[in-house]
């Protein structure tokens, strides 16, 4: 059976789009479930919302936020420097350096972070005094009580950064390994030494591999600072639980703390975006637009559409007349 359909090659494709009814059904189902959940929370009589607003900018909470931020940043900086050293040690041709780096990573990844934090809290039991002097003699330049030298805050920072360094070292090592061997050869052939090559050629290129997982690590670190509650560092979680142990509004204050954690996490993703963008230069033909550029483009597009509408309307009018 043949029908006489005319075959054309130069027509535009003006097809009626395929309908996707189940997409609508699935979206509706998810929205309903989500709405019920939010409603049950929002209208829950056991959550007194006024306490959230009352305590969210409480000076004790704000001080906790500040300490949380401070611990996160200091620990990440120390951890990153240590991680680069550990990664280079791990890839060294010196078997002792390689072995020590391996043992370090094995130990600090293999024991729980909470245990490490408590351990640094108990360091005073292990070494009563910390002194600088000539080993195996009684000559000391200075000697101080361990608990004076390492208060809870410092102990907490040490615990978090030593632990983080073990994870970050593997991230840095992956970054260094991701660089093609030809880069090192080209650098050497130009008369660059190993140190200069690492600093100018290898590390800057590794950054595009290192930064996304390090952003993850920073967010983990932010949340792990709450573990310092066990050694009574007055960070965000400690501050909120101290308040709630007074007024017995545990859930409200947990919400206060969570809102702050979410806020800081969101803010931290901004420098990550710009760092990634900086180290992506030369890697893609066009860099991803910054939010400001996206805004500018969106405005330009909207203007363009308005212009089109105006032109179309004008043409229509003229045709009518």
């Amino acid at each position: 059976m043949t029908t006489n359909v005319e075959r054309s090659t130069d027509d535009d494709v003006v097809a009626i789009p395929l309908r996707h009814p189940w997409r609508w059904v699935a979206a509706a189902a998810v929205i309903v479930v989500l709405g019920l959940l939010l409603n049950s929370l929002w209208n829950n009589e056991n959550i007194a919302k006024q306490y959230i607003w009352q305590f969210i900018f409480d000076p004790r909470i704000l001080k906790g936020v500040w300490i949380t931020l401070l611990v996160t940043i200091i620990s990440m900086v120390i951890a990153t420097i240590l991680a680069i050293i550990l990664a280079i040690m791990r890839m060294s041709s010196n078997p002792v350096l390689r072995g020590v780096s391996f043992l370090y990573i094995w130990f600090f990844r293999g024991t729980p972070l909470l245990v490490q934090i408590v351990f640094w809290g108990y360091l005073g039991l292990l070494y009563k005094q910390i002194s600088l002097g000539v080993p195996l003699t009684d000559f000391h330049i200075f000697a101080v009580d361990t608990n004076t030298l390492i208060p809870a805050f410092v102990g907490g920072v040490i615990a978090l950064s030593l632990n983080e360094a073990a994870y970050a070292a593997e991230i840095v090592r992956a970054g260094l390994l991701s660089i093609d061997h030809g880069q090192r050869e080209a650098a050497y052939s130009l008369g660059m030494g190993p140190g200069y090559t690492l600093r100018r050629i290898i590390l800057p290129q590794s950054m595009k591999v290192i930064i996304p997982p390090m952003g993850n690590e920073t967010i983990s670190m932010l949340k792990n600072t709450s573990l310092l509650a066990v050694v009574a560092v007055p960070e965000l979680y400690t501050a909120s639980s101290q308040i709630s142990s007074g007024n017995l509004r545990q859930v409200e204050l947990l919400i206060v703390a969570s809102l702050w954690y979410l806020f800081i996490t969101s803010v931290l993703s901004v420098p990550q975006f710009y760092l990634e963008r900086y180290y992506a230069r030369g890697n893609s033909r066009e860099l991803p637009p910054t939010p400001f550029q996206q805004l500018k483009r969106a405005v330009a597009r909207m203007r363009g559409r308005a212009d089109n509408r105006r032109i179309a309307a004008q043409a229509h009018e003229e045709a009518g007349a």
Partner: protein, 256 residues
């Protein structure tokens, strides 16, 4: 020929990869200003030999002298000592190298690639290095690409930037490791033009290549390697048109 007229003096160079002897006592001398073309099937050891000349590969036997300096080792009395990385780096400054895969630094612009080593290694001022780099870009026909990143350049353009980068160190010897093998056929010509100009300017060059036509035209001498030994050497015309050794004959039949 007296010693100091030689740019490269390789004596009985031997190299093992594990239990595989890839260079079996290679002896070659290259006078200053000569363009030497190294030819041979893959696995013949020609690239390895090239990489031994600037000590990217260490050697297991023999000696290599470049510009009257023993490469990679120090001779004290009758003993040979390994050099420190810093000393090896210093020797490499007068030996430029161009790679098959270009190996430009992707995080730097073309200009950045060229000026980094002169500034960071030779201690040139930024103005001085930049002026020289622009001259070199002009010379390789890419004056307008100074601010382009390698990813924005074609293979042929990248390779010409790589040549400019090597020349920025003012080398006395240039090594080319199959510089056109990774290029689309229509891009090969520009790179060869740059190399031809360089040869005319009197640069001493060792070129590992499969470009028979280029070798015939530009090279002063051609060396055919196979199985880690020099099989045949001579003027390109003689080696190409009248090969003496059966292995050379077989190779040339397969590529021509």
């Amino acid at each position: 020929m007296s010693e100091n007229e030689l740019m490269v003096d390789a004596r009985g160079v031997r190299k093992w990869f594990g239990s595989n002897e890839v260079l079996k006592s290679i002896s070659l001398t290259i006078p200053r200003g000569e363009v030497l073309s190294l030819l041979g099937p893959s696995g013949s050891g020609k690239s390895t030999f090239l990489r031994c000349i600037n000590h990217l590969e260490s050697i297991d036997g023999g000696r290599i002298y470049v510009d009257d300096e023993l490469i990679g080792y120090k001779q004290r009395g009758d003993k040979i000592h390994e050099m420190k990385p810093r000393e090896i780096a210093k020797q490499r400054r007068k030996i430029g190298m161009v790679f098959q895969r270009f190996n430009l630094f992707p995080h730097m612009t073309a200009l950045g690639n060229i000026i980094d080593a002169p500034i960071g290694v030779n201690g040139e001022s930024k103005a001085e290095a930049t002026a020289h780099a622009r001259e070199l870009l002009e010379r390789v026909g890419l004056a307008d690409k100074a601010d382009a990143y390698p990813a924005q350049l074609s293979g042929g353009q990248q390779q010409r930037v790589a040549i400019a980068r090597a020349l920025a160190m003012k080398p006395k010897l240039m090594l080319f490791d199959e510089p056109t093998s990774a290029l689309d056929p229509e891009l090969v010509g520009d790179v060869l033009d740059v190399m031809r100009d360089l040869a005319k300017s009197g640069m001493t060059m060792i070129v590992v290549t499969h470009e028979i036509g280029f070798s015939r035209e530009v090279a002063d001498r051609m060396v055919f390697m196979d199985g880690g030994v020099v099989v045949e050497a001579g003027a390109p015309r003689d080696v190409l048109d009248n090969p003496q050794h059966p292995r050379t004959q077989a190779f040339l039949e397969s590529v021509l």
